[in-house]
Amino acid sequence: MASPFLSNTTISFSSSLSSSHLPRLLPSISFSPIRFKSNPRRILIVRSKIREIFMPALSSTMTEGKIVSWVKSEGDKLSKGESVVVVESDKADMDVETFYDGILAAIVVGEGETAPVGAAIGILAETEDEIAEAKAKAASKSGASTPSAPPPSPAPAATSTLAPPKPAPAPAPAPVAEGPRKTVATPHAKKLAKQHKVDIESVVGTGPYGRITPADIEAAAGIAPSKTNVGPAVVVETTPAAPPKATAAAAAPSSLPPPVPGSTVVPFTTMQAAVSKNMVESLSVPTFRVGYPVTTDALDALYAKVKPKGVTMTALLAKAAAMALAQHPVVNASCKDGKSFTYNSNINIAVAVAINGGLITPVLQDADKLDLYLLSQKWKELVEKARAKQLQPQEYNSGTFTLSNLGMFGVDRFDAILPPGQGAIMAVGASKPTVVADADGFFSVKNKMLVNVTADHRIVYGADLAAFLQTFSKIVENPESLTL
């Protein structure tokens, strides 16, 4: 009948606090909702015969402790294993014992005060002779007033969880506004701000009446918003459940998406990082888009003819675009400073290519001047170099106009992002047989291709772009000039 309820002595957390204080043999726990395995007592450091009593780390998440009461007073003799002080951690009140015999010479941190883990809270002298010396030491300790967290902090989480310069008593009810500006933040937002060390005064509230919401703090801390389940209540449970993780992440802000279970994080390659940077930069340019249907029957016929000679469709399109640009220099211009046009002397067509999970834009320089065959050859070289990662900088960053073609995938139209430093980019869709009615009302089937140009509206206006497209369309529809 070894039923567990008979063997209650080993697991019972009961202790009798009778006024006839019985000596304690075990680390007496006045109350403990958590069970800790490690020894809660921590009194260390031998320097002469005067020892400091440190704020112990009573739990893995504890960063500061509040002195509930000193069991012993200054001048009391202590023997090893005796309770000296009761400390309140984030989880429980615990009695802390001494490892050494001696005399409690001085109390550095008084009852009700708070000290970070590892800070000296009292001084232990070995003999009465050393009390004076110990007191002097204590005076210097408390003279330094703010017990700024000293290095020997044994808790692993000690460095991150706590807002550093604030050894305020644990239940600090101090609300928000102390400055002139009234900041309103919700209780959860305040908790998150403390946790992620976000200065709440620096956050702009987007909630009702301009209040700071938990989402605002998360945005400021650079973390992805917590997943929405029912409502904010879900968040309640996740954050405190894993404080060590959360705080570790807080130390490295801006890089913490609370990962969807099973997801993996792969850092950007250099190329991908460059793409990312460029794409973000592009957001500062006011762009607009104009689309144009181009009939490609003639171009297709030409392509069929020249293909055996090594001419690619890319080269054909680049050549056509370059020839159109020659007539519309403004589309080949760029706006460097927001105040002027920079007309480029060369027409350099950058062509976007996907390579090994990256994206690069090899440049066909002077595309308007080179003939189709040279252009095709040049293009082949560039692509090989790109695959081998041997492109020289001017071979991929000297473009004045970009061409992006997704037609080979069957895409009929798409919208390209204008790369920084250029005036326009052309997105080319697939050429497809389409029923068209001519001016006389006769139906026929023609191959039509949609091109869509994104341009910087600071320099290229709608009419410019439309005119350019019309030219481009004419060149494509009468492609003989391409071979000249």
């Binding site: 009798s16 009778s18 209780p187």
Partner: protein
Amino acid sequence: MHSALSSLSFSQATTVPRSNYAFDSHSPAFALSQPVNLRFCGLRREAFGFSSLTQSCSGRVRVSSRGHSKKISASAVGNGTPPKSFDYDLIIIGAGVGGHGAALHAVEKGLKTAIIEGDVVGGTCVNRGCVPSKALLAVSGRMRELQSEHHMKAFGLQVSAAGYDRQGVADHANNLASKIRSNLTNSMKALGVDILTGVGTIVGPQKVKYGKVGFPDNIVTAKDIIIATGSVPFVPKGIEVDGKTVITSDHALKLEFVPDWIAIVGSGYIGLEFSDVYTALGSEVTFIEALDQLMPGFDPEIGKLAQRVLINPRQIDYHTGVFATKITPARDGKPVIIELTDAKTKEPKDTLEVDAALIATGRAPFTNGLGLENINVVTQRGFVPVDERMRVIDANGKLVTHLYCIGDANGKMMLAHAASAQGISVVEQVTGRDHMLNHLSIPAACFTHPEISMVGMTEPQAREKAEKEGFEVSVAKTSFKANTKALAENEGEGLAKLIYRPDNGEILGVHIFGLHAADLIHEASNAIALGTRIQDIKFAVHAHPTLSEVLDELFKSAKVKAPSSSSPVSEPVAV
């Protein structure tokens, strides 16, 4: 089984007078009193075929007394009732839980009883208090569990998004209240209690008038009258309640909306329970407490632990030591604005802008219009002054004969089950048995997740009393962490605390914070009510594995110097 039960209760009732001792200093007369009847006879539902009255309110002490009580009532009728000069033997003004408990016991005692109710049967508890709030808390408990991924994972359970339908939750609370209300009404009707509809007013000694607005008043007479008019939410001045964004518990229980951010003024039972509901439904909560500490009514150690579990990890912040001196409802595109004033310096301290404010600053007696002036009774802050036997005291400090006041209206202990116990005590007195209720044996509970419960004194109260009277106080504690059942439920967070006298083993107070604490307290409250000492109760057996072993261990860990008496358990019991 029934015979065993009744004979057990009978033997307890008879053994008590033998051990003659005082419960506490507040009732010195108690020790002198004659044999005490400790059987609190509640509803005798078996006899009348009602089955679902169990939730009517928390913690009513019910020991069914069967055959022999009928004999008592028969004799009471024969001796006590004067000739038919009155319409009724007993009139109760107010059909809340207190009035209901008194009425049922009166009928059992053979009294011709009427109950006057101006509103709905059931009073605050059933319609606007304990009952509907339990429905909301049942929802919040489940939401909390389902939302706690960590908790579910520990069970190996997977739950995708938990959501709720506000109207469905509100309907649950409303349906529960109407069900309990009809149960109460039926139980009284079936017993032959006359339910008189209208507002009752005392027009003179033993005379009450009642009637609805627009109808002629009726005057009825009764040998004894019990005032049981209860209370209404107390709203401090400066606070404008609009019932929409600035609300009391009356409105909150209807759950007409769940605000994103709600301020709760007062961190007592009501405030705490609502914070549990609102945070589970996704609101953020700000407590405003006038005292320096949250949960001022609780044992400090329990309060501290409760704060660690119920406040700190939730979306709750708080302002202590401040009064909400002005609260303006949301209007004209502005949120609810709360002006805070420092409780000590009376200086304006801060202003809060929230979506809603719940006023949970306590309850005020509902005694206006009772006609107390007709019998020269002056209320004190609205409360009807009474002595320790619930007899009403007039302006000259004299007892008003045949007039009693029970429940919230007298302010002794504002709990539904206390009102009911007081009513039963009064009925005992008017049927010829002196009886005085030991208020220290009345348990109280707060139905948060986990629950908090208590009976008797807090540790500071006990220590203060011990200092005055020169006895020793000891404290024993057990953790739910050591309880098999609690661990099986993954609910090891909790503490039970026993405050006792080591010299004689008297239980001074028991405080529990943990899973089902509200149900666990009764072992302790019954022990206090029956005068059972620790050295005796520690031999009682508890089923394993149950949460009740938390108390078992608690009693066993107490260090009592007195030897155990011949315990009631060892006495032969007829089976």
